[in-house]
């Protein structure tokens, strides 16, 4: 164990988890509109784009100068719960 001020870590994690909870709460409506797609939301949690492929998503966000985690958040919306590595 180490000790340092972790308040910023906790705030950052809480913020990320709050966004994650938002995805969970809106998953069904997202699934109806964007099945099997990567959906991009902005800081106001408005959907700004969706893509079938991560490479297309990356290219489009690069072109717009948007930064993952700072400006946008992404989730893959799927009905397939049997995804396996």
């Amino acid at each position: 164990m180490v000790t340092r001020d972790v308040s910023e870590d906790l705030r950052e994690r809480e913020e990320a988890m709050a966004t994650w909870r938002w995805w969970e709460e809106h998953y069904e409506e997202m699934l109806a509109q964007y099945p099997e797609k990567f959906v991009v939301i902005d800081k106001d949690r408005e959907v700004i784009a969706s893509f079938h492929c991560l490479r297309d998503l990356s290219d489009a966000m690069d072109a717009k100068g948007l930064v993952f985690g700072k400006d946008i958040d992404v989730e893959f919306i799927t009905a397939n719960l049997r995804l396996r590595p």
Binding site: M1, V2, T3, R4, V6, S7, D9, L10, E12, R13, A16, M17, W20, E24, Y27, F38, C53, L54, R55, L57, S58, V67, F68, G69, D73, V74, F76, T78, N80, L81, L83, R84, P85
Partner: protein, 141 residues
């Protein structure tokens, strides 16, 4: 103790940790707790959207043979790259548990999968999972 949760959609336990890889600052990443996996793996979506890795980093053709592994899963064989990683687990009491492990980075074809936390990390904790009560905790051993 570190608290996670059962995903309402996936029905699986998840926990968040801060993860750093060489050249990148630590970022919070969600991991599915995978008690059937020996090793942890960051899949492509999290590598791009949480760690801000370039897409080229997920191309097996660009990986050195000595850092490339063929990973046997229940659905077949997948390629991944071995990377050094530093994890920071923030406990509820504010203490910080740092762990360094060699984990795997999934190739681009793993883009639809959540990242997985296997026994290389889970062995450091006493795990409590109870979907009935929604309990997901990683406690000190």
């Amino acid at each position: 103790m570190i608290s996670g949760y059962f995903s309402a959609h996936w029905g699986c336990p998840f926990v968040w940790t801060r993860l750093a890889i060489p050249g990148r600052p630590p970022q919070p990443v969600p991991f599915l707790i995978d008690t059937g996996s020996a090793t942890s793996i960051v899949h492509a979506k999290d590598a791009l959207t949480r760690l801000n890795l370039a897409m080229a980093a997920m191309e097996p053709a660009a990986w050195a043979p000595e850092e490339t592994v063929r990973r046997l899963g229940v659905a077949g064989v997948a390629r991944s790259r071995m990377i050094e990683a530093s994890f920071e687990f923030t406990h509820e009491d504010g203490s910080l548990q740092a762990l360094a492990e060699t984990i795997e980075l999934g190739a681009l074809d793993s883009q639809q999968l959540p990242s997985l936390m296997g026994w290389d990390l889970l062995r450091h904790f006493r795990i409590e999972l109870d979907q009935g009560t929604g309990t997901v905790t990683l406690g000190p051993r």
